[in-house]
Symmetry: C2
């Protein structure tokens, strides 16, 4: 049997391109003691992965050139030499972009299927959900009645962040690109207001119409001019959560933010974070998210691409806004149910 | 007897100019019941005063055109119709730019001369000191061993902020303009390193030399390119305290900050504040500052201009970096001793 892999070939300048990667195939590695042979089901495609492709990722080691691209996902146990795992069980792990990884058992976490199926675990219970949880609650200190603005609201983290704010009894405005994403946010996720940034010549004016009393909490996934526009509408003691900046990955030089003075006049706070800092508290987040998911308060639209061969082109879709929901690769034949 | 006053005549576009003000003279107003007639000794000249001159100051009411310019300072009681104050006592209050204000007793605070004389009360025990205290300790969460960078380090707030960091056993680098200010920071305030931004073609490189391991806490009084350069050197979980942005008052459009992405990769926090939010805790700050002042750990160089007639030109000096220490108007003949 063969393990199909995608290796990192070169480092991207701006938006990752398919030719930054190269595919190969190697024989499956038989598990040694305490190893587990897996069949990959889903791989999560997230903006943070681009930073792993660069020389100086800032917080994680760069993926070495010529090695399997790093990535998290869900897999089924095929063969186990650990007593902790049995064939057929579902696990999550940093699988890498490969169809049949063989990994040490200590790197695997068994899915608790009472909390949700594989689609839930790649969705709201996955790292995107956990990221939204800590960003909205710990960094954003969300509280009932807050006027909340979320950019990238139809994306992997944005969908969950917006729903957390809604669950917390906030007035929630989402920013997304295109009528389809906006209709989803309004009709399926029940946000209070939606801004289609592609249809708005003046984003600040649009924010002003949706949030006439200003913003208590801005959850930012995009950076650049969207962030600058949101700063104009901060209320006193507002919080700005910097979760991502997908608009800036190909910007050279980066967009210059002109409205930081409002942090001063509004006594506001802007804070960046990374979910990995909260590693010791993932269980807290997952318990909260699973309870809301179970009550159907927390949904997530997935954009599923079929086949590992689509992974090299998938990452660029995020930065061009082409994904319609959280972007996922289905690597195997399994439906994960 | 005559009360000499300076009125706000017009609102400034950029840096306040002398012709934004006009002088007049009116008879002293005799105190009514519970009023106190004062003789102004010192008036504090601070960057925040410019925001009071504009239509939309953000957090304080604008000074109405044609009325006495708002400003705080120290005065001596000439005549009192309140049993709480006796002639000859020293008080601090929002006196306004006038030589002989008559104010309700409830607006006055008696100076505790056991803590310091009038020069100490306009200096480290005054609002600049209190601002530095809350900015460095509450917003900046300064702790021993932090690598601290302070811009505007020879200014009213900057001097105290830098000394607080030194007292807290930090490595402190100050940024100031010109050899005289820099020598003062090194020789008199014993900072660990000083950067003369006027002599540095590449401010980021200079910060890198002074803070080779990066910055845990940046206390920003100037904004603009200095802030942008400091962002390049943030350590993980750094704090950026936005206290002022004097470099940007005449910038139209404002400088665009390009390095905010480092807040994300370094999981850093940037927060604006205003001292007035801490009104209920001024006593805490003054007790701390007075104890350090008493131990000679906290000094402040004052730049004293003689005569109220210099006030209209004084404010612009702050934004041109022409003050050599905390800027103060000595309004009366009294030495305040």
């Amino acid at each position: 049997m063969t393990n199909h892999r995608i290796l990192l070939r070169s480092r991207p300048g701006g938006i990752p391109q398919p030719d930054n990667f190269v595919a190969d195939s190697v024989p499956i590695r038989s598990p040694a003691a305490e190893d587990v042979l897996l069949e990959t089901i889903f791989l999560s495609i997230d903006p943070a992965m681009r930073s792993w492709m660069t020389e100086n990722p800032g917080y994680q080691q760069a993926v070495p050139l010529g090695t399997v691209m790093r990535g998290g996902g869900i897999a089924r146990v095929m063969e186990s030499r650990s007593e902790k795992f049995q064939p057929g069980e579902l696990v999550q792990a940093r699988l890498g972009w490969q169809t049949h990884p063989t990994l040490p058992a200590r790197y695997l976490q068994k899915l608790d299927l009472t909390r949700g199926d594989a689609l839930a675990w790649i969705g709201p219970l996955g790292l995107s959900g956990v990221t939204a949880y800590f960003g909205m609650r710990d960094i954003g200190a969300v509280k009932p009645g807050d006027r909340v603005l979320v950019s990238g609201a139809a994306g992997g983290v944005g969908q969950i962040a917006a729903q957390i704010a809604r669950i917390e009894a906030c007035h929630v405005t989402g920013i997304a690109g295109g009528p389809d994403k906006c209709a989803y946010l309004t009709n399926e996720l029940s946000l209070d207001a939606v801004i289609d940034y592609k249809a708005e010549p003046d984003l600040s004016a649009a924010i002003g119409r949706s949030c006439p009393d200003g913003i208590d909490l801005y959850f930012d996934n995009v950076g650049g001019p969207t962030l600058d526009a949101a700063l104009l509408h901060l209320r006193p003691e507002a919080r700005v959560v910097l979760c991502g900046r997908i608009s800036q990955v190909a910007a050279d030089p980066p967009y210059g933010i002109r409205n930081l003075g409002n942090l001063l006049t509004r006594r506001a706070r802007m804070q960046g974070f990374q979910v990995f800092s909260y590693h010791d508290r993932y269980e807290e987040a997952r318990a909260w998210l699973a309870a809301r998911h179970h009550e159907n308060q927390l949904r997530q639209r997935l954009h599923i691409l079929e086949g590992l061969h689509q992974a090299p082109g998938a990452l660029g879709m995020l930065f061009r806004g082409e994904n319609n929901g959280k972007l996922v690769i289905r690597a195997g034949n399994s439906d994960g149910a």
